[in-house]
């Protein structure tokens, strides 16, 4: 009887965790989908070349110390085959809000028509960004 109760509560816990995972996945998809609707509003995007939309701020230490050098290295590796669009989230708070950017650095991987396919909250290494770009090229 007691084992039956434990199993029932275990199933209940698994159900709650499962539903939470589904909700998290849906929330992430909603952020990307919302960003996709806005992708046409990036005036500096050149169609035909995949890119990275990079949100930063002037006082972001990680951006200066790690994210920017990683992006520069990637641009050198893939010379001319990608575009990096840098946005100062403090100068363009509306754009940051529209793209659901809560922290910097945040990078969106854009496909050849400018649609976001991946999002990285926080530092993303050159290798990771390269692998994400390969999937959308």
């Amino acid at each position: 009887m007691m084992i039956h109760g434990v199993l029932a509560r275990l199933a209940c816990a698994a159900g709650i965790i499962g539903l939470s995972l589904v909700a998290f996945t849906v929330a992430r998809a909603v952020i990307l989908s919302r960003a996709r609707r806005l992708s046409g509003k990036l005036p500096s995007f050149r169609s035909g070349t995949p890119g990275i939309l990079y949100f930063t701020t002037p006082d972001c230490v990680t951006c200066k110390a790690a994210q920017k050098p990683a992006l520069r290295a990637l641009e050198e590796q893939l010379a001319g085959r990608i575009q990096v669009i840098e946005v100062d989230a403090l100068n363009q708070p509306d754009l940051a809000r529209q793209w659901s950017v809560l922290s910097v650095p945040t990078t969106f991987i854009l496909d050849t028509v400018g649609k976001p396919r991946q999002v990285n909250h926080g530092f993303a290494s050159a290798a990771k960004l390269r692998s994400q770009l390969q999937r959308v090229s």
Binding site: C12, A13, I16, C63
Partner: protein, 159 residues
């Protein structure tokens, strides 16, 4: 003017969040409000001495064994202390409610603590810290710290 930041070892915070999640899940599955009470006491005691509630697991076991490495970031310790204290109070009310017969309310509160700890552990968002910074903006006495520069209130700073 930005605040001078202290140093916070986020690995010890993550160990505490993981321990809270595991123990509260066990307490739910085993229908043991006493275990919730133990978690609440550790969280509240941790806040009282400005340490993560399960710091001892990290300090005595996981760090010496090299299982978890330190992740010291410039951050304000006060919001984390507040968040843990807030979580501890919710866990204490949860245990009390369950022991007094209001099981549905008690377990709902325990799941709330699990959800908030999971949000912090997996998404890097500390709801209690965000509440702290919100109270600071409202100029509530005792809530004196600004979020680190370039970091949204409640979000984990980056190295």
């Amino acid at each position: 003017m930005p605040d001078r930041l202290g140093k916070v070892d986020h690995s010890s915070l993550r160990v505490t969040q993981g321990s809270i999640i595991v123990l509260l899940l066990f307490s739910f599955v085993l229908n043991s409000p006493w275990l919730v009470a133990v978690v609440a006491v550790l969280m509240l005691a941790g806040s009282a001495v400005s340490r993560p509630g399960f710091f001892f697991i990290y300090l005595l076991l996981l760090r010496p064994a090299g299982i978890v490495k330190p992740d010291v970031l410039p951050d304000n310790p006060e919001p984390h202390r507040f968040a843990q204290g807030f979580g501890g109070v919710v866990a204490a009310v949860s245990a009390l409610a369950t022991l007094l017969g209001a099981a549905a309310l008690g377990w709902a509160l325990a799941w709330l603590v699990i959800a908030l700890a999971a949000l912090n552990l997996f998404a890097g968002f500390c709801v209690g810290c965000a509440v702290y910074y919100w109270l600071h903006r409202l100029q509530v006495p005792g809530f004196s710290k600004n979020p680190p520069a370039g970091v949204a209130p409640g979000m984990r700073p980056r190295p």
